[in-house]
Amino acid sequence: MEDKDLDKLFQEAFKEAEEIPRPEIWVQIENKLKDDSKVVPIRKRNNWWSYAAAAAIFVSISGYLTSKVFEERSTIKLTANVPTPEKATSNYNYNTTKSQSVDEKLKQDNNTKYEHLVNYREKNSDNNLEAGTSKVELVYIEELTENQLLANIKLEEPTSHLPIVRQVTEIDDIKPIFEFEEESESMYAATPNEGKEKKNIITTLLNNITDNIDSKVNKEVRFHTDDEGSFSISILNSIAKNPTKKRK
């Protein structure tokens, strides 16, 4: 037989052939279809759920960070109500704009204030931030009443609100006392015009992130933004710190 004939023989035989499968096979097919139909909608749902989960994670993280921002802001508001201590310390910064006698007096005040600050902080190092802050404010008021009026008079100036903001931020910082003051010192030394820095959401978020990365490092890297929307990073290190302030 030729090859073609052989092929044709089989072709004809198989063309319309029918074989009867066992009925059990359909049952098995049905079961497989049932399993599949359970899987498919879940897969489709998975797509949706995975996006929803990703969005939820993102929202929770950003919410956590912004809540930290609000924490700072709320403490700013708290301390802003008690202007005298802040003003007292800010005067230290604006020596050149004040008269000599006032400066001297304020220097004294600042020294006493810092002493009190140190004492207070040492006593209350275990307290949480907000409680500590509010107590410090009260102490200031008690100790510095004699200079209160002077401070008030002298600092009724347009730039007064800025120093308050800055000072409050520093005082409210979640850092131990030593670094806290060091940090304020270094800030004076390194960036005198820091009061003009603007902060927006992005910089505060970035600042929070860097703060949280290493709590030991006290604001070595600061993010600022300016009017034009450009960002700047200022890196502060121990070199700029005032060597006279020794706490240890």
């Binding site: 052989l6 052939a17 499968p21 096979i25 359909w26 097919i29 497989k32 279809l33 599949d36």
Partner: protein, 196 residues
């Protein structure tokens, strides 16, 4: 959709053919909606033909059943891959063949098994010595080793070229040709032995 091969079953009753076509289209649509009853009906309509295809690609009935099962699950779940071009039956057949080829690829090690020429095959048809019926021919094909059987089916029955077969089975064209000739030789021998 082209008319299905129902024509051959009911050659003189064209209206019923058209009706069947419409019914089948609707039935297929219902199957796509995962209507279990429609799927059962669809299966009962096509299963015999499909099973015959599975049988000639397999060595045992069990193997054929596996291919049939997996094939139909694919047909019902991947119904959207049928684009409407070409007959539905042709598309289904292709799925069965592809499922059979999966078995081939999985068992490629066993391809080089030698055919036992002395193998005793019971031939059922005793009516005419010269003529071998479907059952006998099926038996012969089932006794071919996997590789020869697959190539023979694809070339001689389905009509694919060696190039296409080489692509499908991931073998060389030369391998396809040699396997085909070996299959033919073997079958030829077996058939001629049945002369008496």
């Amino acid at each position: 959709m082209q008319p299905l091969s129902l024509q051959k079953r009911l050659p003189n009753i064209t209206t019923s053919i058209i009706l069947e076509n419409i019914n089948l289209t609707n039935l297929w649509k219902e199957c796509n909606l995962q209507n279990r009853k429609a799927q059962a009906q669809f299966y009962s309509y096509f299963s015999k033909k499909m099973f015959a295809v599975c049988m000639r690609y397999s060595h045992t009935t069990l193997e054929a059943e596996d291919i049939l099962q997996n094939g139909f699950v694919k047909i019902f779940t991947k119904h959207n891959t049928y684009d409407g071009k070409g007959s539905l039956e042709g598309w289904m057949k292709r799925i069965m063949i592809n499922t059979a080829i999966e078995v081939y690829r999985a068992n490629q090690r066993k391809l080089t098994e030698s055919i036992d020429d002395n193998e005793n095959i019971q031939i059922e048809s005793h009516l005419v010595a010269d003529q071998m019926g479907y059952k006998d021919l099926l038996k012969l094909v089932q006794h071919l080793p996997l590789g020869y059987r697959t190539v023979f089916n694809l070339y001689a029955i389905e009509g694919y070229t060696h190039k296409e077969i080489a692509e499908m089975l991931r073998i060389t064209e030369g391998s396809s040709k040699s396997q085909l000739s070996r299959a033919r030789q073997w079958l030829q021998t077996k058939i001629s032995k049945q002369a008496y």
